[in-house]
C-alpha cells in the first residue's frame, strides 16, 4: 500500500530512505478517496441482489472500504444503478443523483442499466441510465456476477486514480448545475427537450390527419 502512494517520481536521498515518504497531493487524495467509496443502498432489480451478494460474506466489498452502504444520497459517493431503470423510476434516480454531494460517481451495473438490456424494447424502460445522468463505469452482464461487479468497482478505482485535484469538476469555479428532473407525461419527457417534443408532436398531428382515412379503411 505504501508503495502505491510513495512513487511520485522523485528520488529520496539515500540517507533519508525509510524515514521520509514523498508523495503528490493527487496521489494521497485519490488513494484516500478510492478506498472509502460509500455506495448508496439502492437496489433496483435483479442486479440489486447481486450487489447485495457482493456486500455479503463471500465477496465482501468492505475489503475495498465500501462497507458503509448509505440509504441516503447525501452521504454517498457512488450510485450503483443496479438494474432496469424504468420511466416511472428515472425522475427519482435523477433527483437522488442531484442530491449526492460531489465528488460523485455512477456505476451502471448490468445490461439494463447500461443500455436497456433485454427489456430495452419495452414501453416503460429507459434505454440506458446514461441518457439522463453521466455514468463512469459500465459493468456488463445480465446480471454481472458479484465478482464482475467487484471488477467494475476496481475499474472505477482506477479511474479515480487518474483524476487530478487541479481539474476535477467539483473544485472548478463554475457552479455545477443540477440535472433537470424528467417529467412523466404521455411518455417520459426531458425538460430540456420540450421544444423538440412540441415540434415532433405537431408534425405527427399533421401526419395523422393526412393518414387516418386510409387506416380506417
Amino acid at each position: 500500500m505504501t508503495e502505491e502512494i510513495n512513487t511520485p517520481g522523485y528520488d529520496i536521498p539515500p540517507e533519508m530512505e525509510g524515514q521520509v515518504a514523498i508523495t503528490t497531493l493527487d496521489k494521497i487524495y485519490n488513494w484516500s478517496r478510492r478506498n472509502s467509496i460509500w455506495p448508496m443502498m439502492f437496489g433496483l432489480a435483479c442486479c440489486g441482489i447481486e450487489m447485495i451478494c457482493a456486500a455479503t460474506s463471500r465477496f465482501d466489498f468492505s475489503r475495498f472500504g465500501m462497507e458503509v452502504m448509505r440509504p441516503s444520497p447525501r452521504q454517498s459517493d457512488l450510485m450503483i444503478v443496479s438494474g432496469t431503470v424504468t420511466k416511472k423510476m428515472i425522475p427519482q434516480i435523477v433527483r437522488l443523483y442531484n442530491q449526492m454531494p460531489e465528488p460523485k460517481y455512477v456505476l451502471a451495473m448490468g445490461a439494463c442499466a447500461s443500455g436497456g438490456g433485454p427489456f430495452k424494447e419495452g414501453y416503460s424502460v429507459v434505454d440506458g441510465v446514461d441518457k439522463f445522468i453521466p455514468v463512469d463505469v459500465y459493468v456488463t452482464g445480465c446480471p454481472p456476477t458479484p465478482q464482475a461487479l467487484l471488477h467494475g468497482l476496481i475499474t472505477l478505482q482506477k479511474k479515480i486514480d487518474k483524476q487530478s485535484i487541479k481539474n476535477v469538476r467539483w473544485y472548478s469555479k463554475d457552479p455545477v448545475e443540477p440535472i433537470p428532473i424528467p417529467v412523466l407525461g404521455p411518455d417520459l419527457m426531458d425538460p430540456r427537450e420540450y421544444a423538440l417534443i412540441k415540434q415532433y408532436s405537431t408534425e405527427k398531428l399533421v401526419e395523422d390527419q393526412q393518414v387516418p382515412a386510409v387506416e380506417e379503411a
Binding site: 443502498m41 460474506s57 463471500r58 438494474g83 424494447e121 419495452g122 417529467v183 412540441k198
Partner: protein, 580 residues
C-alpha cells in the same frame, strides 16, 4: 373429487344460470358469463359451490374477433381443479362490473387490467393506473398499441439476418431515446397528475382531523420508492394518526418491465429466460411454472429423470428463498445484516449448484419444454446430496436457535400484522402468508403438478396469521423441502432428460392454458393463450408478490408505522414479480 361429480356440479351451475354458456372454442374451457350476471355468478360460486379462492383476473384482447375478454380463475381452498369463467366485452367501450366488493383480492388485478388493457371495472373503489402512471398515453397491452421501439409483431425480427446491419434502436428515434408522443401534444401545457392521485388514495386529507377526545392531526407519510426497507423500488403511502396506521396504499410500477408485452412478441422458447427475471430469487420455480403451462398446451411430458431434477431444483430454490426471506425480515426488524449474512452463505452454496447445472447463478434458464436443458454435470449430484443431507438441516436449526426465542423478535412479531383466514382467502393471499393464517392450501398438495403426488411431505400450517407465524412457517417449509429433497436423492432414476429432440421452434396448438406452481412466494400462475403461431397471443403472469400486496392494507391497519416495514418484510415480495 372424481370427474363425474365435477360434470354434475357444472350442470347444476348451468341450471342455476341459464344465461351462461360453455366456452366451446377449441382448446378453451370454462363458461362465458354475461357481464350483468358476473357479480351474482361469482358470489354464488363462492358461497354455494365452494370456489372461494379467486386466483387470477386478467384480460385478453382478441383483436381479430374485435372483442375483449376478462378471464377469471377460481379454485376451492379445499383443493381440486379450478373453474374458469370469462366475460366478453366490446373493444371500443369495455365495461365489466368489478368483483372487488366480493373478492377484495381482485382489487390490484382489476387495476392492472384497466391500466394495461383499458377495461373499465364499474364500482371499483379505486380504479386508477397501477403499473404505469396517470397520464400515460394508451393501454399498452392492447394488440394495436405500439411501443416506441416497435419492430414487428413477433420475433425473430427480419433485420437481424441475413443482412444484419447493426443499429441501436434509439438511433431511429428523433429523441435518441425510447420515447414517443401523441400528435398535437404540448409539453408546456402539461400538468403531471401522478402524485395528487397517489395521495388521494389514502383518504380525505381535507378532514384529516380525528374525532377522538385528544385530537391530533393525521399526517401522510411516504415510504419509497428509494427506501432501504421496501425490498427494492416499492412505495407505500401511509396515513397516520400519531404513530398508528389509519390507511395505507401500496404504489408500484417502478420496476414495470413490460414482461407481458415482450412475452407476446417472443416465441414460446424465448420466454423461458425472461421468466427468470420475474422473481429473480427463484428463477427455477418461475421456469417450472411457465414450461408446465406450455406443456399443458402442447400435451407433452418430460421423462422421469427430468421430473426429478425439476423437483430437486424447485425445492432447492424454496430453501434459498426462505433463507433470504427470513434474513431480510430480520433486517427489517432491526437485526441489521447478521442473520442475512448467514442466510446468504447457504444461498451461495445453493447458487453454486445452480451455476454448475445451468451456467448462471440467478438467471438459470434451465427448464425446457418436455425436459431440462442439460443433465446434472459430474459431481453436482454429490454436491446436492452433501448439502441436503449434511449441511442444510443443521443450518435451518441454527437459524431456529439463533432467532426463534429471541425476545426482541418475539416482542416485535407476535400478534403484529394479523391476517385472519377469511381475510387471507378473500384477498387471494397465497403461499406462506395464506398458510400462516391457518389455511392449509399448497398447490403441490391441492392440485399436484409434476410428480409432487409421489412425495411424502406435510403442508406447513400455522394459525395466528401474524409476522411470527409467517417467520415460523418458512422454517417449517424449509424442513419439508429438505424432506422432499431426501426422497428425490433416494429415488432419482437414470435416463434421458429431454423428451424428443430439443427444438428451438416448438409447435403449440391453439388454445388457452392456466398453469400454476407453488413457488416459494406462493401460487405462481401463468395464463397463456396460443393461436397456433410461434408467439403466444396472450401471456399473463399471476404474480404472488403482486396479489399478496392487496392484503397489505388489512394487515397494517391499526398497527404502528414501525410495524409496516416488518409486515411488508413478512409478506416477502420481490419487485421483479410485483411489477413485472
Amino acid at each position: 373429487m372424481s370427474e363425474e361429480v365435477l360434470v354434475e356440479e357444472k350442470t347444476e351451475l348451468e341450471e342455476r344460470f341459464p344465461e351462461i354458456g360453455r366456452d366451446e372454442r377449441k382448446g378453451y374451457e370454462g363458461y362465458i358469463v354475461p357481464a350483468e350476471k358476473l357479480v351474482e355468478f361469482a358470489t354464488v360460486l363462492r358461497d354455494e359451490f365452494g370456489y372461494d379462492f379467486l386466483s387470477s383476473v386478467t384480460a385478453v384482447d382478441y383483436l381479430p374477433e374485435d372483442w375483449m375478454e376478462v378471464v377469471y380463475h377460481a379454485y376451492q381452498t379445499t383443493g381440486g381443479p379450478g373453474l374458469v369463467y370469462k366475460v366478453q366485452v366490446d373493444r371500443d367501450d369495455p365495461v365489466v362490473p368489478s368483483l372487488t366488493p366480493v373478492f377484495p383480492g381482485a382489487n390490484l388485478q382489476e387495476r392492472e387490467a384497466w391500466d394495461l388493457m383499458g377495461i373499465r371495472f364499474e364500482d371499483h373503489p379505486n380504479l386508477k393506473r397501477v403499473l404505469l402512471w396517470e397520464g400515460f398515453d394508451g393501454h399498452p397491452l392492447r394488440k394495436d398499441w405500439r411501443e416506441a421501439f416497435y419492430e414487428g409483431d413477433g420475433k425473430p425480427f427480419k433485420s437481424r439476418w441475413p443482412s444484419g446491419e447493426v443499429i441501436r434502436a434509439e438511433e431511429n428515434n428523433p429523441f435518441n431515446k425510447n420515447v414517443d408522443y401523441p400528435g398535437g401534444f404540448d409539453p408546456e401545457q402539461w400538468t403531471p397528475a401522478g402524485e395528487t392521485a397517489v395521495y388521494a388514495g389514502v383518504g380525505r386529507l381535507d378532514h384529516a382531523v380525528s374525532e377522538t377526545a385528544l385530537s391530533t392531526d393525521q399526517i401522510v407519510v411516504n415510504l419509497g420508492p428509494q427506501h432501504p426497507s421496501t425490498h427494492g423500488v416499492f412505495r407505500m403511502v401511509v396515513r397516520l394518526e400519531g404513530e398508528t396506521v389509519v390507511d395505507l396504499e401500496p404504489v408500484m410500477g417502478y420496476l414495470h418491465r413490460n414482461h407481458e408485452k415482450i412475452g407476446e412478441r417472443n416465441t414460446f422458447l424465448m420466454n423461458i429466460p425472461f421468466t427468470d427475471r420475474l422473481d429473480y430469487f427463484n428463477s427455477m420455480s418461475n421456469n417450472f411454472g411457465y414450461v408446465l403451462t406450455v406443456e399443458k398446451l402442447m400435451g407433452v411430458k418430460p421423462p422421469e429423470r427430468a421430473e426429478y431434477i425439476r423437483v430437486m431444483m424447485a425445492e432447492l430454490t424454496r430453501i434459498l428463498n426462505h433463507m433470504v426471506a427470513i434474513g431480510f425480515l430480520l433486517n427489517d426488524l432491526g437485526a441489521f445484516f447478521t442473520p442475512l449474512l448467514y442466510a446468504f452463505e447457504e444461498r451461495e452454496l445453493i447458487l453454486d449448484i445452480f451455476e454448475a447445472v445451468s451456467g448462471s447463478r440467478m438467471m438459470c434458464n434451465y427448464y425446457r419444454f418436455a425436459g431440462v436443458a442439460r443433465d446434472l454435470p459430474e459431481g453436482v449430484f454429490e454436491q446436492v446430496k452433501n448439502l441436503v443431507l449434511y449441511r442444510l438441516p443443521g443450518k435451518v436449526n441454527d437459524l431456529d436457535t439463533f432467532l426463534t426465542d429471541n425476545e426482541i423478535i418475539r416482542a416485535r412479531a407476535i400478534g403484529i400484522g394479523v391476517l385472519t383466514a377469511e381475510e387471507a382467502i378473500a384477498h387471494s393471499a397465497v403461499g406462506p402468508v395464506l398458510r400462516a393464517s391457518g389455511v392449509p392450501y399448497d398447490v403441490r398438495r391441492a392440485d399436484p403438478y409434476g410428480i409432487y403426488d409421489r412425495f411424502d411431505f406435510d403442508v406447513a400450517v400455522r394459525y395466528h396469521g401474524d409476522i411470527y407465524d409467517r417467520y415460523l412457517i418458512r422454517l417449517d417449509e424449509m424442513r419439508q423441502s429438505i424432506r422432499i429433497l431426501e426422497q428425490v436423492i433416494q429415488d432419482i432414476p437414470e435416463g434421458p432428460i429431454q423428451e424428443g429432440k430439443p427444438q428451438y421452434q416448438v409447435r403449440v396448438p391453439a388454445g388457452e392454458a392456466y398453469g400454476r406452481v407453488e413457488g416459494p412466494k406462493g401460487e405462481l400462475g401463468f395464463y397463456v393463450v396460443s393461436n397456433g403461431k410461434p408467439n403466444p397471443w396472450r401471456y399473463h403472469v399471476r404474480a404472488p408478490s403482486f396479489i399478496n400486496l392487496s392484503a397489505l392494507e388489512v394487515m397494517c391497519k391499526n398497527y404502528k408505522i414501525a410495524d409496516v416495514v416488518s409486515i411488508l418484510g413478512s409478506i416477502d415480495i420481490v419487485l421483479g414479480e410485483t411489477d413485472r
